[in-house]
């Protein structure tokens, strides 16, 4: 029993251990990549490199044959501290007669990206094979399974060949993201059966199926626990129940019109998602948005983080039935949502970001109202945390529950609060600064090592405070430099056809990566959304192992992931 009330004053720890990194200095791809590729070619491998400069963050792209993809990645991983950001499949048969895969890697301590690209020739059936990198990079698991479901590209050597997006009631051979698949076609239902691989049989082991329709007001997902007594020995999670075909739907759509779909992919991270989408477009078009709009985007993004974090602090308490905390959190969140509506017309900040700028601004009165609310919130947040952590029972339930180990968080590619609570120090606002974050940075980015519910709670507490300070600073800058009615947006202009770009933003849950490729006449050719929830869901089954079943709601709420932006 550990109940020190002052414990919530945390000391941020900055240097987290890196499994692959020995040096503490900046990693420069400029020095490393050409040498690495040269050595690979010297050994008889094939690879070509290229460079792209987009919004100050240099991208290195390396093309390798599909049959040696994993070997090449192994070669890279020996010398570079890479982590997988996203993987995108693309059907380019109309243009080049082949499929393409893009593995986007981030590099620790570097603002640069590395994109490993491979081409899979379409020819005889059964030739759509490539070397899976999942055994090397476990974070690639879902991406490769998804590419198999939606494109029919088969990752050789993948340890888990089950379907992920298309459930068992989909007929075989349906490949929705191929260009020749008619998006309006609705395949018949064939089979309604569950498919669970790691059925842990044996005496004393009970299987508990939960969902997809849950007891609370939450989104659908299926969880299957194997438990000995109360202890969870295995958890299988099934998602993609809310798969709406968003990526197929926006193909061929005008980029300005697609914004409405993009922002409604997920309500809880609508600002950061739309922001990532718009930034990718602006990158391609070389659009420079007005500085005022850049600051407004920062304000909106931080307002979104605030209402999410404050709500989550209370919501975690709902996981253990501590209603004083959860009701207080709901009250604070409601106040913030009402403020959103008063200032910007939408409680969930829909319809604020547009390509080239923002749709709505904040006038002087609005800025003042926001500032007053932030002062109020700073005080209220401290009270909320005192109320919650002042209760010994709560602290007892939080401590050492749902521990996510540093190595799991690193290898499964966790992002956001989940990663920072487990010692993986990642925050896109600092790692790949975008928009006004290039000028304004949060005062500190809290990192903890414990990886339990308590750590995730404390990270959120600290982030609420830094977010408030950041907002106050941004409002100060805006009051000084921007008058009442400055330009909100500039036209996007013509985008080059068949060019790809991606952008990362930090939402309340973690980093969102939106990858897109334009088609002719400012349309979308391919769009891939990877939100924080997509990156973080695979770590939840790791974190619940060896915990008791009644702690699952608590652990789940401490990650606070959403299903809709995972499922798309």
């Amino acid at each position: 029993m550990n109940s020190d009330n002052e414990q919530f004053l945390i000391q941020p720890v900055s240097a987290a251990p890196r499994p692959t990194d020995s040096s503490a200095s900046q990693v420069s791809l400029q020095e490393l990549v050409p040498g690495l590729v040269q050595r690979w070619v010297d050994r008889g491998g094939q690879a070509t490199t290229g460079q792209l400069n987009r919004s100050g963050n240099r991208q290195w792209s390396i093309k390798v044959p599909a049959s040696s993809l994993a070997d090449f990645c192994r070669h890279l991983l020996r010398s570079l501290p890479l982590y997988l950001i996203t993987m995108v499949g693309l059907d380019e048969r109309e243009r080049s007669g082949s499929y393409r895969l893009y593995y986007v890697f981030g590099v620790d301590k570097s603002k640069e990206f590395l994109v490993v690209e491979t081409e899979i020739k379409d020819g005889i059936p059964g030739s759509l094979l490539y070397q899976s990198i999942t055994p090397l990079v476990p974070a690639a698991n879902w991406y490769e399974r998804e590419a198999r479901d939606l494109f029919g590209l088969i990752p050789q050597g993948h340890p888990d060949p089950r379907r992920v997006v298309l459930h068992r009631h989909w007929p075989d051979g349906v490949r929705p993201l191929r260009k020749d698949f008619d998006g309006a076609y609705q395949p018949p239902f064939v089979l309604d059966d569950d498919e669970f691989r790691n059925r842990t049989g044996g005496e004393g082991i009970v299987e508990i199926p939960v969902g997809p329709i849950h007891a609370g007001v939450i989104e659908p997902g299926h969880f299957r626990f194997s438990a000995v007594g109360e202890q969870i020995v295995n958890l299988e999670a099934r998602f993609f129940f809310t798969h709406r075909g968003v990526e197929k739907q926006v193909e061929g759509l005008d980029v300005e019109r697609a914004v409405f779909v993009v922002e409604r992919n997920c309500a809880a991270c609508t600002v950061s998602s739309t922001l990532a989408y718009c930034q990718a477009l602006e990158d391609l078009g070389g659009t420079v948005i007005p500085e005022n709009a850049a600051y407004l985007r920062l304000v909106f993004a931080e307002m979104e983080r605030l209402y999410n974090h404050v709500g989550d602090l209370g919501n975690i308490c709902a996981g253990i039935g501590f209603h004083a905390g959860s009701q207080r959190g709901l009250f604070l969140k409601e106040e913030l949502l009402a403020l959103n509506e008063t200032l910007l017309g939408s409680r969930y900040l829909f319809g604020l970001i547009r390509p080239g700028g923002v749709r709505r601004g904040l006038n002087h009165a609005g800025r003042w109202a926001l500032r007053e609310k932030l002062w109020w919130l700073r005080e209220q947040n401290t009270k909320l945390v005192k109320l919650i952590l002042g209760n010994d029972g709560v602290v007892d339930r939080f401590t050492n529950t749902g521990v996510l180990k540093n190595s799991s968080a690193f290898h499964l590619g966790a992002v956001g609060v989940a990663a920072r609570a487990s010692g993986v120090d990642r925050d896109e606002r600092r790692d790949h600064p975008y928009g006004a974050y290039q000028h304004l940075q949060p005062t500190s980015i809290p990192v903890l090592q414990n990886g339990d519910v308590y750590a995730r709670f404390l990270i959120r507490v600290e982030e609420v405070n830094t977010s408030i300070e950041l907002l106050l600073q941004a409002l100060e800058v805006m009051n000084q430099h921007f008058q009442e009615e400055p330009t909100l947006a500039v036209p996007l202009g013509d985008l080059p056809a068949f060019q790809s770009a991606f952008s990362l933003t930090e939402s309340a849950r973690g980093s969102n990566c939106h990858w897109l490729m334009t088609g002719p006449n400012n349309t979308l050719y391919r769009y891939r959304i990877r939100t924080a929830s997509y990156a973080n869901w695979p770590v939840v089954p790791r974190a619940v192992l060896n915990n008791i079943v009644p702690d699952f709601p608590l652990i789940n709420k401490s990650f606070e992931l959403c299903y809709s932006c995972l499922d798309r």
Binding site: P176, F181, G183, A184, Y185, Q186, P187, P188, F189, D192, P212, I213, A215, G216, V217, I218, E219, P220, F240, F241, T242, H243, R244, G245, K248, Q249, E251, G252, L253, R257, A258, F260, V261, R264, N265, C266, A267, A268, T270, Q327, L330, F331, K333, E334, A338, E341, T342, L343, L344, G345, S346, R347, Y348, F350, G351, R359, C562, Y563, S564, D567
Partner: protein, 340 residues
């Protein structure tokens, strides 16, 4: 302990008293779009700009079941004839009641039905379907429904058959079964009355997310918070459909959830009500009907009340729930008609 008690006495009550006393709405609230016909130039920019195809022309009408209240119509209007009102209590018992005219007045029934039948969603081939004259629309709708119009929904629903036919999925149930005969209407009213009597004072709600963006879900969570606190109205959320009187469905009906949605509905005891929430629940909203499903709740389940909004404000949700139990009446559209 004593401190807390005193603190609780001093603290103000945060719960608002909607619907007895309607709280003032914020100035920036985006509610039902309204047209000032005198200044409308008839350019049709609003219909082209609408991301869900909610606006149709000749005569100007808007399908609130599709509207996502983005304000794009007001933004693009060359003569600034459209403004967003503060009208958010838009819930209706029939899908076609959501199709309203420039001032929110009801439009002719046949036209309303045809408009509501138009698929929603931000599609690439948009907007050719929308700009067709209404006569063609209804003809097309009749073609889609096939030579034999679907039979009225029987008491025991052969749901898998209903849902698994792709043709049926394309059309909302309530619209393919107009039920225009007099005795049917009498029976319906009688049933409504009976359901109202049974459920008016204490209603148990089961929430079902059939593919929402979680905006509506978060608004439902807000209902349980101290500010809205729907328990003061005798409404509460329950954990199992077997304990529920009302199924509150948010989101588009995705294929992966169709079977679960039908099972949830079947698990509920009679009498049961279904309420579709949000633009997605009413019509599919910005999401097109595609391989992964799509369309509103009524493509699979018989819906009693539609609550438009994207997402609907908590008070709009309360209004819709009270409408479902018969404790409130549909918004005063007749008054509006008389006034306009």
């Amino acid at each position: 302990m004593l401190n807390k008690t005193i603190g609780n006495i001093i603290n103000r009550v945060v719960t608002n008293s909607y619907p007895e006393k309607s709280k003032a709405v914020p100035e920036n609230l985006r509610g039902r779009p309204e047209v000032i016909l005198e200044s409308c130039s008839g350019a049709g920019e609003c219909a082209r700009a609408c991301p869900t195809g909610a606006i149709s022309l000749n005569p100007w009408r808007i399908d609130l079941g599709k509207c996502v209240f983005c304000g794009q119509c007001a933004e693009v209007c060359p003569s600034k004839a459209i403004k967003l009102t503060h009208d958010f209590e838009l819930a209706a018992r029939k899908r076609e009641d959501l199709v309203v005219g420039p001032k929110g007045e009801p439009v002719e029934a046949e036209l309303a039905r045809a408009t509501a039948l138009q698929p929603a969603g931000t599609a690439a081939n948009y907007p050719p379907r929308l700009l067709q004259p209404p006569e063609e629309q209804s003809q097309e709708a009749a073609e889609l429904a096939g030579p034999n119009p679907a039979p009225a929904i029987p008491q025991s629903l052969p749901l898998p058959l209903l849902t698994l036919s792709p043709k049926r999925r394309a059309l909302p149930m309530s619209l393919t079964n107009p039920g225009s005969e007099g005795d049917l209407e009498v029976m319906e009213n009688h049933l409504k009355e009976r359901i109202g009597r049974l459920l008016q004072r204490s209603l148990h709600i089961r929430h079902l997310d059939s593919g929402s963006c979680n905006g509506c879900d978060w608004e439902l969570t807000t209902l349980l918070g101290p500010v809205q606190d729907i328990q003061r109205l005798g409404l509460d959320f329950v954990a199992s459909p077997r304990h529920a009187d009302l199924l509150l469905v948010t989101g588009v009906m995705t294929r992966n959830l169709t079977i679960a949605a039908i099972r949830t509905y079947r698990a509920m005891p009679e009498p049961r009500l279904v309420v579709a929430v949000g633009a997605c629940g009413c019509s599919g909203g910005v999401f097109t009907t595609n391989y992964a499903g799509g369309g509103g709740t009524d493509t699979v389940l018989p819906v009693d009340v539609y609550i438009p909004g994207c997402p609907p404000r908590p008070q709009a949700l309360i209004h819709g729930l009270l409408l479902a139990t018969g404790r409130l009446e549909q918004h005063k559209k007749e008054n509006l008609k008389a006034g306009s």
